[in-house]
């Protein structure tokens, strides 16, 4: 079995079989991560560049670990956004990297479409580690993996993505992936943070967080990016926490056993109360561990394609 695509740019249009294959392969690698020696020789001799045009600690470390555990040679290339507002340098940087004969590129970029642009100027396999507010496919894959691990299925599950949907690449990848796998997807958040035409993607919009808790099996709670533009879209953190924050009281009031995911880092007291963030419903740290396995699976499947 192999993937039908040479790159992983997003989950839009990725067939069910591919997602299934990645999740199943991740299960194998998940087992490797429990061994005393967490390393397999699968990608020995392959060179991978982690090209990060945007700050990211978690995603980058997760990819780096995945690469090391597959025995690939990896190089980090971090570029500060301020020095590369021109596309020319992006193209030149890429040509330079390609001239160094790399096999795969993991790219995080502040502009939507940048990974696709890369596939046009270089031959390496490209993995999107987040492009602008477009997609973040490995995050969605690890979310799906974690849900499946806990609830044993994806098909028929009701999953609600909570928070700033407009400025989230995690939301869009989750919507595409989960819909492909047969889940029922909804979004919940302040209307200023919900894209106007999101319903055309087959997604239900819920404005009331209590309703979202009652109706769903899973909540994937997004980080409110307080440091970014998103801050202009709601009046105050207090108001956001009051009307959209997930608290123990809220979970108790709605009396429902619900699975809670969060891509991290958490704003405690904003989108999740500390009690919930450390509570029994959440699988947040599980997601982090699974993230390495899922990224190993993606790297392995793309890196061993002919």
């Amino acid at each position: 079995m192999s993937l039908s695509t040479k790159h992983l740019l997003g989950l839009q249009g990725v067939p069910k079989e591919d997602i299934q294959l990645i999740l199943d392969t991740a299960t194998t690698f998940r087992e490797v991560l429990e061994r005393p020696i967490k390393r397999v020789p699968t990608l020995q001799g392959k060179t991978i560049v982690n090209l990060f045009y945007e700050n990211s600690t978690r995603t980058r470390i997760s990819f780096e670990l995945a690469e090391k555990r597959l025995s690939a040679d990896s190089v980090n290339f971090a570029v500060s956004a301020s020095s590369v507002s021109k596309g020319e340098s992006f193209k030149d940087t890429m040509r330079n990297i390609e001239a160094m004969k790399v096999d795969m590129v993991v790219v995080r970029h502040f502009a939507a479409g940048a990974p696709l642009f890369l596939t046009k100027i270089c031959d390496a396999n490209v993995i999107n580690a987040g492009d602008g507010i477009h997609e973040h496919p490995t995050q969605a894959l690890l979310d799906m993996y974690s849900i499946r691990e806990k609830l044993m299925k994806l098909k028929g599950l009701k999953v609600c993505i909570v928070g700033d949907i407009s400025h989230s690449r995690v939301a869009l990848s989750n919507i595409y992936g989960l819909k492909t796998m047969g889940a029922d997807v909804s979004v919940c958040g302040p209307l200023t943070m919900i894209p106007r035409y999101i319903e055309e993607l087959g997604v239900k919009v819920i404005y009331n967080i209590d309703e979202a808790i009652q109706e769903n099996d899973v909540l994937n709670v997004l980080r409110i990016q307080l440091e970014r533009k998103a801050r202009e879209y709601f009046p105050s953190i207090r108001e956001y926490a009051k009307y959209f924050g997930i608290t123990e009281d809220r979970l108790e009031k709605n009396g429902k056993d619900i699975l809670i995911l969060h891509p991290g880092p958490i704003n405690r007291g904003v989108e999740l109360s500390s009690g919930v963030a450390d509570g029994l419903n959440q699988i947040i740290l599980r997601q982090v561990t699974n993230g390495v396995a899922v990224r190993m699976a993606v790297l392995y499947l793309l890196g061993t394609l002919n």
Binding site: Q12, K86, E88, K91, A111, G113, P195, E200, L201
Partner: protein, 451 residues
């Protein structure tokens, strides 16, 4: 034989001159002039020294010694006029100059253009107007100039409109952006009313237009920051209201939304002084084209939805939209080869416009040929108070010659423009301009010929 001085730039622009012809016969042409209600089939035109000498059946004496162009089945129409062109000179001569822009216009079938004022410096002084006029003076393409409505297009102080008008400016605009506030717009309308000159508006509310593409399901799917259609609608209705209040003339540039067209239709029904133009890309493409993240699908206003495109076609049919204009906006490859969000807005259009209009509007039965020529040659001149070329003996021959059925493929490597930022490369089109004639010069088969 010595060439007249004006010919220097044709030589320097490396376009071959075939020669000089004193007498020319355009044979077996179809003559179409909607303004004069002329629609003649299979007739001849005799040109002597660049003037129309005779139209109709020519005798042997008439055509003695003349160079004969057999143009059987081709249409001779009044020289086409593109009222929305960015020539980039002064300031960005690496992207386009007055001469290369004129060459692209001639190659695309245009004998007249109006150039927009968002140069560096902006066209807000007589000096800049004179510079452009001087560069363009010898070219067969008539270059008319749109002056900045405010100094530096900053939306703060009115430009020296009277002086600019005397220097030959035909309209005012802060194109690239809308005139900043209703307050300054009101003053501009009041002031410009003294000269009966139109204000051309790029309608876009700045506070809503910071995105990269049309707001719709595609912007959501592509993760590109959206520009809602109301960004345009709001300024269109603002401008119509201020124009009505002051009695000033408003021309809506590159109209692109359903609502805006409805507003213009309603304003026209009320008899207000409103006109509008549309670009070929807005009647050809929708925001579906952005799916490839091709930065040549990024322009301002952005490509819209199918229901906007359908309304554009209705607006063209019922006369709500008066003109077709390219918004020819050359950009360097380096600038366009960027991440979509960072790439500049705009595409070139002078050389694909006739082909797109014939393919998308005429051959798809949206407009007949008369209506199409009205919108491409006659109405733009009327909006700008420029005389429409006449087809009668003694007049300067100002013609575009069209082959409405020729099937051809766009090849940007053959573009005369300095820039090639167009989404239409390799596109198959039906119908193109075969030649243009104006000011005693003909552009035909890639060469300039003096008549």
């Amino acid at each position: 034989m010595e060439l007249p001085s004006g010919w220097q730039f044709y030589i320097s622009s490396e376009l071959l001159i075939k020669g000089i012809i004193m007498k020319a016969v355009l044979k077996n042409i179809n003559l179409l002039h909607p303004g004069q209600k002329l629609n003649e089939k299979e007739i001849d035109i005799l040109l002597v020294n660049g003037l129309i000498s005779k139209i109709g059946n020519l005798t042997k004496v008439d055509s003695a010694g003349a160079e004969v162009f057999n143009l059987s089945g081709k249409y001779v129409v009044p020289g086409l006029f593109d009222m929305h062109v960015h020539l980039r000179e002064p300031g960005r001569e690496d992207e386009e100059t007055v001469i290369t822009g004129c060459n692209a216009a001639a190659n695309g079938g245009y004998t007249g253009i109006a150039c927009m004022p968002n140069t560096e410096p902006a066209i807000d002084s007589v000096e800049v107007v004179e510079l452009i006029r001087k560069q363009a003076s010898a070219h067969l393409v008539d270059v008319h100039i749109v002056g900045a409505a405010t100094l530096g297009r900053k939306g703060e102080v009115i430009s020296p409109m009277a002086e600019l008008k005397d220097a030959g400016v035909v309209a005012f605009s802060d194109d690239g952006v809308a005139i900043k506030t209703a307050g300054i717009l009101k003053r501009i309308f009041e002031y410009s009313k003294m000269f009966n000159i139109p204000i051309i508006e790029h309608c876009e509310d700045e506070s809503l237009a910071s995105g990269a593409m049309n707001e719709g399901v595609n912007s959501t799917m592509l993760g590109l920051p959206p520009i809602p259609s109301i960004a345009e609608d709001l300024i269109v209705i603002r401008d119509i209201l201020v124009s009505e209040y002051t009695g000033g003339r408003i021309h809506i540039a590159h109209i692109s939304t359903k609502k805006s067209i409805e507003f213009v239709r309603e304003a026209k029904r009320k008899g207000l002084k409103v006109s509008a133009e549309v670009t070929p890309h807005h009647f050809t493409l929708t925001d579906d084209s952005v799916k490839t993240y091709d930065t040549n699908t990024k322009m301002s206003p952005p490509l819209r939805s199918q229901h906007d495109l359908d309304e554009i076609c209705r607006g063209l049919q019922d006369g709500t939209i008066d003109c077709i204009a390219s918004d020819h906006a050359p950009h360097s490859i380096e600038e366009k080869e960027a991440e979509f969000e960072h790439a500049p807005n705009g595409i070139t259009g002078l050389e694909t416009q006739v082909g797109l209009a014939l393919t998308e509007l005429f051959h798809k039965n949206i407009l007949n040929l008369e209506k199409l020529i009205e919108k491409m040659a006659i109405n733009p001149r009327k909006v700008l108070n420029i005389p429409v070329p006449k087809f009668e003996a003694g007049q300067i021959a100002n013609f575009t010659i069209l082959d409405i059925d020729e099937i051809w493929t766009v090849d940007l490597t053959k573009s005369k423009s300095k820039s090639i930022n167009s989404p239409f490369d390799k596109r198959l089109l039906t119908g193109k301009a075969v030649a243009v004639i104006n000011k005693g010069t003909m552009f035909y088969q890639d060469k300039y010929i003096m008549l």
